[in-house]
């Protein structure tokens, strides 16, 4: 296929050595009527694809995640976002499975997004980038999976926005998804979810350096606004119990309040740090686009308002996971998914993991979560005929 060229960084700052570029004769046509071409998809892989191409797992990253699920992140120098779960002997066992993780369309780690060059203008897209949806992200991923010559994914797994992609995969390509793990996620964004995202977007847009999204050309970055957006979002990823345990009312490097607006409290200092660290690695316009994609997500709406219809007659094996202290995508959201799957007659397991770490629990080493994931994947591997070494039996 001449439509694909390998390893040519098409956007970003050449950070992603593994990139597939789909040339303009294979555009990504978006739900909103947009057209993205050329389309670069930056990805990472871990482990080896077996001869039968039957051991591939697609990991879908969350809102501000990227393709670096494991190993060392090239920008932050920190471990990949799912280091707790991905690696030799871990549930997503790199000795057994071929793991693929790609940066979502609209992102900023090498996949085409608002910071990429718009071929029509020669300048960064900015807000001219088409508003993308979760389904658009999944369409792009499907192009990548086609590129790898993989017919059926052994599993599609991810948490939060990644979990939305998992649900969309199962609904859009049921025959290509052998098993699915939607984790700490929801089939639609609630008013509260949209509200928090809107606060974040308004914080970005209120920064004078945002310049109506054209900050790149003008050599500035709306770092303050993006940092505030991250600070408010970060609170939603934690739980009150976790914040209280970690910080309480403890003061930062001082014994008494200063009666000023310094970061007297440790929790203030922590949030400021989170905001600053975030702007180092994330693009403000990308933040607008990925939050918008989540807001538009309502899987049932594409199926006449019935989530069960999205999964009708599916053969995919599902394992739905929620966490007790997650108030961003609470267990009730996962139960709605489970009910729909049950109504559709799907094979579904559902576990609510006891944790006080809030939404972020899915990124951490939670022993019950690890055991559940391992058990589910092992049984699915047995049903798929995958030997422990990843070969086809």
């Amino acid at each position: 296929m001449s439509i694909v060229s390998e390893a040519r960084p098409a956007c970003g700052e050449g950070l992603a050595p593994k990139t597939v570029v789909f040339e303009p004769d294979r555009p990504l046509l978006t739900d909103g009527g947009g057209r993205i071409a050329p389309l670069a998809i930056a990805y990472e892989t871990y482990g080896a694809l077996n001869a039968a191409r039957s051991n591939a797992i697609l990991l879908c990253h969350a809102l501000t995640g990227d393709q670096y699920a494991a190993g060392v992140h090239p920008v932050t120098g920190k471990p990949g976002w799912w280091e707790a779960m991905v690696g030799p002997g871990k549930p997503f066992d790199t000795d057994r499975y071929f793991l693929i993780c790609s940066n979502v369309v609209g992102g900023c780690m090498g996949t085409t997004g608002p910071s990429s060059i718009n071929p029509a203008t020669g300048k960064a897209y900015g807000l001219d980038f088409p508003v993308v949806t979760i389904r658009d992200m999944v369409r792009a991923q499907a192009m990548l999976i086609d590129h790898f010559g993989i017919e059926t994914l052994f599993c599609v797994a991810g948490g939060s926005m990644g979990g939305m992609q998992v649900l969309q995969w199962a609904a859009s390509y049921p025959e290509r998804v052998f098993s699915a793990m939607p984790i700490a996620t929801a089939a639609k964004h609630t008013a509260q979810n949209i509200a928090f995202h809107e606060v974040g977007r308004q914080a970005v847009m209120a920064d004078p350096d945002w310049r109506s999204g054209r900050y790149q050309e003008q050599g500035v970055r709306p770092e303050k606004g993006l940092a505030v957006a991250r600070m408010s979002a970060h609170i939603t990823y934690l739980s009150e119990a976790a914040l209280q345990r970690k910080f309480g009312r403890k003061l930062q490097d001082r014994s008494a309040p200063t009666f000023s607006f310094d970061a007297d409290f440790q929790v203030e200092n922590y949030l400021r740090y989170q905001g600053l660290a975030f702007v180092e690695r994330f693009d403000a316009n990308s933040y607008l686009f990925v939050t918008r994609a989540c807001d538009y997500f309502d899987l049932a709406a594409d199926y006449g308002g019935s989530l069960a219809m999205a999964f009708k007659d599916t053969k995919t094996r599902f394992c739905v996971v929620s966490f007790t202290s997650d108030w961003l995508y609470p267990t009730s959201d996962s139960r709605a998914i489970v009910h729909a799957l049950n109504a559709g007659g799907a094979s579904v397991s559902f576990v609510e993991i006891e944790s006080d770490k809030g939404h972020d629990a899915f990124l951490l080493h939670e022993p019950m979560f690890v055991a559940t994931t391992r058990g589910f994947l092992n049984s699915a591997a047995a049903a798929r005929g995958l030997a422990p070494n990843g070969n086809s039996k």
């Binding site: 394992c319 489970v338 397991s349 576990v351 006891e354 589910f376 092992n378 047995a382």
Partner: protein
């Protein structure tokens, strides 16, 4: 052997989840090969595994305890965390051929609603429960004047999860009220051996320590 307190937190459960249960083989015998089965209160999945091995069923489970669900998922069973009292309502009509409630009915808050839901979700329901009409239970109450505590009903009155105990006669009456039909019934004696089917009712109700019923939805229902 105790009765599985399906609604009780598992970590404090008095019953080890891996203990084999006498009624499982009797239940398995009632299920047709290759059927679609929903096991409500499936514990560690022992019955689902037995049904998969012996009858090749397409099985699903509902279990309240996180420990039970995790064990089931680790075994490759499709089990969701849920409660017989609240979650059966969400299942569609006729989603399954059989809905099984094994040693759990007496621990539900609303046994009648649970049974009605089961017969809505599946054409057939299989229910096993401890018989409070068993002669040793009657004797304890009559002689000592206190709530019975037996090997099967091992809890004291104030800490038991078994809040809706019934006798075989009580159960048969409830089935009748729901317009369902008893297709098969087996009472198990103290040794776990089935009492012969053609024994009169009062014999069942007196000598059966537990009972297993295969019910079919009545034509008049729904």
């Amino acid at each position: 052997m105790n009765f599985t307190p399906a609604r009780e937190a598992p970590e404090q459960s008095a019953q080890p989840l891996d203990q084999p249960r006498l009624d499982l083989a009797v239940i398995a015998d009632m299920v047709a090969s290759g059927a679609r089965v929903l096991d409500v209160g499936c514990g560690d999945g022992a019955l689902l595994q037995l049904l998969a091995q012996k009858k090749g069923v397409d099985g699903r489970g509902v279990e309240l305890s996180q420990r039970g669900v995790n064990e089931c998922v680790a075994k490759g069973l499709s089990v969701i965390q849920g409660d017989a009292d609240t979650d059966l309502a969400d299942y569609p009509d006729d989603g399954f051929d059989y809905v099984i409630l094994s040693q759990t009915l007496q621990a539900t808050r609303r046994p009648r609603a649970a049974l009605a839901n089961m017969l809505r979700i599946g054409r057939r329901a299989i229910v096993s429960f401890p018989n409070f009409g068993y002669w040793r239970v009657r004797t304890q109450l009559a002689v000592t004047g206190r709530m019975p505590v037996t090997g099967h009903l091992a809890y004291r009155w104030h800490d038991t999860p078994n809040i809706h105990l019934c006798t075989i006669r009580d159960f048969v009456e409830l089935v009748d009220q729901l317009g369902a039909r008893i297709e098969r019934g087996v009472a198990l004696d103290r040794s776990g051996a089935p009492i012969r089917f053609n024994a009169p009712w009062w014999v069942w109700n007196l000598f059966g320590e537990q009972a297993v019923f295969l019910l079919e939805r009545g034509g008049g229902q729904r």
